[in-house]
Amino acid sequence: MDKKEKLSLIVFSGDFDKAIAAFTLATGAAATNREVNMFFTFWGLNIIRKNKGRAFTGSGVLARTFNFLMGGVKKLPLSRFNFLGISPKLMTYMMKKKNVATLDELIEAAKALKINFIACEMAMQILEIKKEDLIDEVKAVVGVPTFLDLAKDGMTLFI
């Protein structure tokens, strides 16, 4: 059998619409028999926090403030026309009405397809996020060399 094609996504953005784009690509690729890695860094870590709302994570004042303000997957803003957080809810409503998978459904599909979730060690250090603050499906907390090894010989996209 031929070696599987591979897609690796660097999920940098914590924007709602960009998270949808990342998970749409990832699940589509995994469902069509590709190996998929999702490397979550900086604001992208908000998508995979265990706490989906706002929580004071970390020990330093700055980290706790940042983490509270950013929140989890239920608090992701739309990259344009966020309107104080109303737009992601409206977008989700529109997606459901059109029978298009919502972000929650895409994340669940990614888990079911056993996509390789990995988190950026450096960004977690800055934001004082621990592995136990992230969803259980995150397999490892890694640095650049490990990610590059995983992404080797495949396509890599930055979102």
Binding site: G28, A31, T32, N33, L106, A112, L113
Partner: protein
């Protein structure tokens, strides 16, 4: 050998592929799956994807406004 059925006529990308893939993953080797799908992206790519996953396309027929794909795992 069990027979399974999946209707993805109301689904959109990527869930057309995701649902087909997850259904196949749940099936035993030798089981048969009948998928009802739409023209366009699903018809162009679901059969191809299924074969790439190591399953065999048995038949692909028109079923009214949709298409009926039969595959064996």
């Amino acid at each position: 050998m069990k027979k399974h059925f999946l209707d993805i006529t109301k689904e959109h990308c990527p869930m057309t592929f995701v649902k087909a893939r997850l259904k196949l993953d749940d099936m035993e080797k030798g089981d048969e799956l009948e998928i009802l799908l739409c023209e366009g992206e699903p018809l162009d790519n679901v059969p191809k994807t299924i074969e790439e996953c190591g399953c065999r396309v048995i038949s692909l027929d028109r079923a009214g406004q949709f298409h009926r794909l039969k595959v064996r795992k």
